[in-house]
């Protein structure tokens, strides 16, 4: 009997319907989970992310790569080509070698990171750049000069946030503390933040 009365009241006053409307109202007021991705916002991946390769230099500005070709040997897909040459000092030591050609075919590469592991001088490291789309096949091969440019995302920045796209696009190096951040997975009580 009580159930029947309850049902009648629910039906007559459209209570279920109002409940549904309140649910959507709650979502209306909640924050959007969509990024304005290419124009305004960009997602900075986590530290462990493996993207486009970068060649690094030491503090003096000298390339770390000594063209030992270990990365070529380690590469499971043969996507790296290294041609060594002597540098301008004329000496013959291992430190005097530089890469004449260091190119990587980003379409072949499977981003396993073996080259990173094999590199004795930590010259090649996989950065967090993931915007690899290009309009012709030439764009899929990264030459040494392109790989030597510095990534806008500092190496040891922890990531996992959304930043303004212009920092990435215009390659502006800004200290991570100053980046206007939007936490991707907001830490909820009871759930430890993923790192």
């Amino acid at each position: 009997m009580v159930d029947i009365i309850k049902t009648v009241i629910t039906r007559v006053l459209f209570l279920d319907f109002i409940k549904g409307l309140l649910v959507t109202l709650k979502y209306t007021l909640s924050r959007s989970i969509t990024l304005k991705y290419p124009d305004h916002e960009t997602w900075i991946p986590y530290e462990r992310f493996r993207g486009e390769h970068k060649l690094h230099r030491n503090e003096d500005g000298r390339e770390l790569c000594v063209a030992c070709e270990l990365c070529v040997a380690a590469c499971p897909t043969d996507c790296i080509t290294v041609v060594p040459m002597e540098d301008e000092t004329g000496r013959r030591g291992i430190n005097d070698r530089v890469a004449k050609v260091w190119e990587v075919n980003l379409v072949r590469c499977l981003y396993c990171g073996y080259c990173e592991d094999a590199c004795p001088t930590t010259a090649v490291r996989l950065s967090r750049g993931f915007e690899l789309a290009c309009t012709d096949l030439d764009g899929t091969i990264r030459e040494r000069e392109a790989l030597l440019t510095e990534s806008p995302i500092p190496e040891h920045y922890e990531g996992g946030v959304v930043v303004k796209a212009k920092y990435i696009r215009k390659l502006i190096q800004i200290k991570p503390e100053l980046w206007k951040q939007k936490d991707w997975w907001p830490a909820k009580p009871g759930r430890s933040k993923k790192r």
């Binding site: 649910v23 959507t24 109202l25 979502y27 209306t28 304005k36 124009d39």
Partner: protein, 364 residues
Amino acid sequence: MPSIDTLIVVGVMLLKVLIIGGALFCAPLPLTWIERKLAGRIQQRLGPHRVGPFGLLQPLADMIKMFVKEDIVPAKADSFLFKLAPILAMAPIFAIFVVVPFGPDITIPFIDYKVSLYITDMNVGIIFVLAISGLAVYGLIFGGWASNSKYAMLGGMRSTAQMISYEVAMSFAAVGVVMMSGSLSLVDIVTSQSGGFLNWNILYLPVGPLWFVIFLIAGLAEMNRIPFDMPEDEGSLAAGYHVEYSAMRFAFLSLAEYVAMVSIAVLLVVFFLGGWDNPLGSLIPILDYVPPVFWFMGKVGAFIYFFMWLRFTIPRYRYDQLMTIGWKIMIPLSLANILATGMIKIYADYRITDVLEMVGLKLW
């Protein structure tokens, strides 16, 4: 040769027609933007945001796209009727606004000329509205038939049957409004509800809220919106009567749907929510300086928002459920309600303010 006064009257009327017609033609542009933005918010997306600031130019971009797309007339279609149908769907809904009062008479300062904020005040206004809105089915039925496609034709038939069924309930609800307000003219209906929200027809207890709900549901079905949007049901009959339409003709059909939404919101406001009436009466003196048109537009806007909110909240009814609701619930309910309204009108014609006054409470 007509006198100069006649010319002025005709000129002012033409001006009003132009303003209202132009506003209605442009209304879908912001409305589509709002609807898409709201859909985005509800689904935790962003909605359009790339064209212009906040995506405000998106409707214009869509319009340009619609203009330049190829206008396809199917082979063996009845070309004349196919081209006529979007206009037939659109014209009646625009014609409804001929009798809608947007506000009380205003006097233009300096020249001291009195202008009424409606095109004409018919003494059969409410029947005119129902009759004219009934003509909108021809757009559907001719559009469906002329496409020379089985899907379109069956969809057109289905939508027509839906609109005719709910027109009955809607007319009954209009009869209820006429009984509550005691007039067929829309201006009189609004003035009969003046003086704060307690005088509105929706609070003509106990029958007012029921009439409101019946009119609301029937109106939703009349304008083919969720939860009764059979023409947009892609799952069955490949969406209905406008399958074969493209480009500008399709744009006209959706324009008609948006204007229908505005018209139902306007009718709800005029019939049940006191039109341009200030909700708080003269309780708060400062509100008297707000122009009445503002209240009208605010209420209409609230209803439009409600319709959009509804669209992204509840699912679509099946066709047989729709017909069951129309014939087996709405029509008996409205018949019983007509009887109840008549009894109340004869034996206890009190609005809430009257009752309050009787117990010594006078709010305003």
